[in-house]
């Protein structure tokens, strides 16, 4: 329905009845309002009047926006100025003072002389879309906050193991520039890892879990539990995989301490049993000596008692070493110098027992930062063990030797002690670092290797072994070269 405006300068020349689309004017699913140069509303369609009350003869800024004066940015004014169509986004208020987001399009209306006599405004209500847009924006922000603020490593990788996205926690620890392979970033590897939960998720679309050791930008090891989950497109194809990793380094350190304690208890029980056997035997023989007044028996028995008292005392020292909480000092230690001293010290005795000690290293192989006493104990443990392995070898054909090597290997320095003694089967090797273990009968407390392992770990290094039963063993300790504190 169109009515003539009751007032307005354009009234005479503007005749809405001439509009052929009169019916359309009322029925289009948008608000239409027509204003003159003074922003007075000349006409409004039915939809507009129903929602916003009758605006006719009011100023548009008062009717739609509740303002006392015209809006600073006004598309109607611009259309009056340049005769062109304009559009803008506005917020207007309905008769219940509820806001509506609208897109306004303005269009000039001319008289027969071609003069602009009014401007038509078409309002498209986008309140619902705007609301959805806001909600989307909101959830995107929330998602990003979550992504960035949760205290675990989150990344998204593609099929080529390239990082597409990484959260702040991840970026702070690993850098994580998009496009770089995940294995380069947090494993410092050149190739993909042999077993990869990410690849498994790409393959079967399920979540997978694994425990991994990552290396952060500072070279520090981080133990994590990784969970992967597929990310699918609308067709259900897996486009990428989400990886969420929890840092369990502290839990792991605690577990290690508990495991060490467990091993200590086992070791102590075993060692005490052996010492007890020796003491018992010694006392028995001493008693025989007293009974028979046999000086030789008394001496033999007493030596056994002394030897086993010595073993208890060594055991206690080792135990104290193992359980003591401390961090090693970080003094410069020349590995070559220490190794040379130990080899020189043990060489004569070993030679007498038929074992040759050989050294294969140069004096400038490197300096590490650490506790000199610990490093000395570590190397002398390894060399001592190697000599013992040769001595317990019953193979008379072999000429026994122990080779101590020092060499550099990708930012680390390796201490390698190789013997051609008894060697160990796989079972013995697997027990080596996991529980008390001594292959040396009476003379081993089973703590020597635990101590070596402890020293290596405390200095940021590792210890490993290769061995073939009957052929010999090689122990390798790798320590960071001049590690920064």
């Amino acid at each position: 329905m169109l009515e003539s405006p009751s007032s307005g300068s354009a009234q005479g020349s503007f005749d809405v009845h001439k509009l052929e689309c009169g019916r359309l004017f009322d029925e289009v699913p948008c608000y239409i309002s027509i204003q003159d140069r003074s922003f007075q509303v000349l006409q409004a369609n039915r939809k507009m009047i129903d929602e916003f009350g009758d605006p006719i003869s009011q100023f548009c800024y008062a009717a739609y926006k509740g303002r006392r004066e015209r809006c600073p940015e006004c598309p109607v004014a611009r259309t009056f100025d340049d005769g062109k169509d304009h559009s803008s986004q506005e917020k207007i208020f309905d008769r219940h003072r509820l806001p509506h987001d609208v897109i306004v399009n303005t269009r000039p209306l001319h008289n027969q002389a071609g003069e602009i006599i009014a401007v038509m405004e078409l309002f498209t209500d986008i309140t619902v879309q705007k609301e959805l847009e806001n909600r989307l924006q909101d959830s995107l922000m929330r998602y990003h906050d979550l992504f960035d603020l949760v205290p675990c490593y989150i990344s998204v990788q593609d099929r080529d193991f390239r990082i597409l996205e990484a959260n702040r926690y991840f970026r702070e620890s690993f850098g994580g520039r998009p496009g770089v392979h995940c294995y380069e970033i947090y494993k410092k590897r050149a190739d993909r890892c042999p077993r990869c939960p990410l690849a498994e998720t790409f393959q079967d679309g399920r979540t997978h879990e694994s425990e991994e050791v990552l290396i952060d930008d500072m070279g520090k090891k981080v133990c994590v539990v990784v969970h992967t989950a597929p990310i699918r497109d609308l067709q259900g194809n897996i486009t990428s995989v989400l990886e969420v990793s929890d840092d369990i380094s502290e839990i792991r350190a605690l577990q290690d301490k508990l495991a060490l304690l467990g091993r200590l208890v086992g070791t102590i029980a075993h060692s005490i049993k052996n010492v007890l056997e020796g003491l018992r035997g010694g006392v028995y023989i001493v008693n025989l000596g007293f009974r028979d007044n046999n000086q030789a028996d008394i001496r033999t028995g007493w030596e056994m008692v002394e030897r086993n008292v010595g073993r208890i005392s060594n055991m206690i020292m080792d135990m104290l070493y193992c359980t003591k909480e401390r961090s090693p000092r970080r003094l410069p230690v020349s590995l070559a110098k220490v190794a040379r001293e130990i080899v020189d010290l043990l060489s004569p005795r070993a030679h007498d027992l038929g074992v040759q000690l050989e050294s294969e290293f140069s004096d400038n192989v490197g300096v590490i930062l650490g506790e000199p006493k610990d490093i000395r104990a570590l190397i002398s443990n390894l060399v001592g063990n190697a000599i013992d392995a040769c001595l317990s070898d019953q193979n008379e054909q072999k000429s026994h030797r122990v080779i101590t090597r020092l060499f550099r290997e990708s930012g680390q320095v390796a201490i390698e002690v190789e013997d051609n003694g008894t060697g160990m089967d796989e079972e013995a090797q697997s027990k080596l670092f996991t529980m008390f273990f001594s292959t040396k009968g009476t003379f081993g407390t089973g703590l020597g290797l635990l101590i070596s392992q402890k020293v290596a770990t405390e200095h940021g290094g590792t210890i490993s072994v290769r061995s073939v039963l009957g052929e010999g063993s090689t122990f390798t300790v790798r320590l960071p070269l001049e590690a920064k504190s």
Partner: protein
């Protein structure tokens, strides 16, 4: 001294622990047995061929497994298989070496069981009465 009772009877003691060898040797000698010692399975095989002992005490938990091999070999030889063998085993409960004997059996059912067991730490009376009964 009860030495005369066992005159001429010879015991082979096999153990890699020097103190155990000394202890058992003294114990048996003091009770009138002749004693031969071996510190590993290879030594023991030579000794048993040479000395033909009347009884063997054997530590099964020697590191090179030569104890078990030694036992199998003598049980496989008709001229040696009759010699009674006493296993000297670790204490049950701690450490792990205790179940050496058990494992030895579960792996080799075709091998006859030993004639006796003595657990470490060795009780001299228990050892003597067992040996006495077996010889």
């Amino acid at each position: 001294m009860t030495g005369n009772l066992h005159r001429g009877k010879k015991i082979l003691v096999v153990d890699d622990e020097k103190d155990v060898l000394l202890y058992l040797a003294k114990l048996f000698e003091d009770n009138g047995y002749g004693v031969v010692c071996a510190s590993g399975g290879n030594d023991a095989l030579e000794s048993v061929e040479r000395e033909r002992p009347d009884l063997i005490t054997l530590d099964l938990s020697m590191p090179d497994k030569s104890g078990a091999r030694f036992y199998r070999e003598i049980k496989a030889k008709p001229e040696l298989s009759h010699i009674p063998v006493v296993f000297v085993t670790g204490v049950t409960g701690f450490g792990g070496s205790s179940d050496d004997t058990e494992r030895f059996y579960s792996n080799r059912r075709q091998v006859p069981p030993p004639d006796g067991f003595v657990a470490k730490p060795i009780d001299p009376d228990e050892m003597l009465s067992l040996v006495d009964r077996l010889i």
